[in-house]
Amino acid sequence: MNTVPKSGVAHEAQALKIRRRRFNVSLLLGGTTIIFWLIVALVGPMVAPHAPGQVVDLDVFSPASSALPLGSDYLGRDVLSRMLIASRFTVSIALLATLLAATVGVFCGLLAASSGWIDAIFSKLFDTLSAVPSLMFGLVVIGSLGASIPVLIGTLATVYSPGAFRTSRALARNIAVLDFVTVARARGETLSYIVLREILPNLVGPLAADFGLRFVFVTLLLSGLSFLGLGVQPPNADLGALVRENIAGLGFGAAAVLVPTFAIASLTIGMNMVIDAVSGGRRAGGRR
């Protein structure tokens, strides 16, 4: 903290205060955004004023009005209703994929940390997986299996499980050498007891932060794939697909393209703010 050598005690105290205030503000702002999107994903489709596929406006890309709060899209459909459906697709697919990636990654990571030869195999396997650029991997898998929601979730989970594996393996290795684990081993506890009851409880905090970070990456990749037309397929749409189908409205600044764009940004930035606030903001950037 002390870049200026003559910084006094008062200066330090003030810096601490500023940091604490920023901590609260970014946690509050980010947390509110995340909760807002979770609620939208949960109840949104139920309160949508129109069916997502219904053409309600003769005009396309019409501006916001009292009847259509967010205007209409490239076919004259209600943007608000489509947004409500799309955020459910984005949030639920991203959550499921993150959950799957984290479960597989953490499970393998814990196994690897507790046994030498499993470690060698898994490390090589996950290293190979992570050597494919993530969007390229998505393109290849979807190119050969076709785009469907299960394939999409599987692909996203596969792309991001190596990251979860590496994090949990590194964390677990540090804990596996501590005294209480050695004691448990000496007691003759089984491997599953040691992993689940001794090691795992100590990883919950860092792994939660890692989960949030991975959720951001998954959302970004999902939106990217959908934007390329390889994600959620019509008639359904997620936020990235909404941007794609309404990109022609960009020329006149239509809400149909701007609202989903800002929705993706707020979701990912909100999550990043929460993680930054919780983990103390010392995380160096990394997209994988």
């Binding site: 190979t128 993530s134 393109l139 898998v141 993706i264 940004a265 990912t268 999550m271």
Partner: protein, 311 residues
Amino acid sequence: MIAKRVGGALLTLFLLSLVVFAMSLLMGGDAAEAMLGQNATPEALAGLRAAMHLDQPSWQRYLAWLGGLLRGDLGVSLITKLPVSTLLAPRLLASLQLAGLTAAVSVPLALFLGILAAVRRGSLLDRAISMATIGVVSVPEFVIATLMVLIFAVRLHWLPALSSSRDFSSLHDVVRVFTMPVLCLACVVMAQMIRMTRAAVCDALDSSYVEAARLKGVPPRRLVLGHALPNAIGPIVNAVALSLSVLLGGVIVIEVIFNYPGVARLMVDAVSTRDLPLIQTVAMIFSAAYLMLVTSADIVAILCNPRLRHR
């Protein structure tokens, strides 16, 4: 040590070729059926399968494919019937131009901003930079590109929204074609690089030998350039290589948005037409480039930090 890293990368590349080839086995139906359409006679299908060696067991086909790849024989596109290498060559050149220009713009700028942010840590400038980079890192590339098109092409009419033109008759044309895609890509790559550079320089500035130099009365400029920076070079070069690997993903979206005729654009088209030989080749090229960047990052880190050599 370095040989071990290179060997590891080659092994990974080999495993990757297995994965990429396995993808083609996963794909339902076979290429001969796809080429001849629905009303093909069984004899024609069998003939084409034999001609394409599809009747051989998969491990033989894998060896043949791998051998062709190593000899530079990349196979023939299923859709256009042209050799993949003919399709690829001009696209590869175009993509390299784009990537090269982006790197040339973003690396010096990102290093400058990253070091500046680290030196002025806690200042308004530092906070502005870190807010901006968090914002850019957590937004998909196409959002940045969309916003830039909105601002520069739609509102200000400064630049064209597409860069498919290949007319390089004057400098003006070159600038018009490249500015937008390069700007978008540079934004994405720089955000990463700035954050990692800042972290590396901050670490060096926090060390006790810099503290000692500072107490000795070394002027700030020499403190940063002469004392802190040489030790931060390893992590910084590492950061540069890793950020440039992000370029490989970003380039896909950017080429599609700006309709730029590069390799990634070719890949996306190949995926939508399920042109497997093309998909496999491009996937291998991208993965090899990615591995090369990551491995060179590792090697530079080893070269710059003698302590790593003896681990």
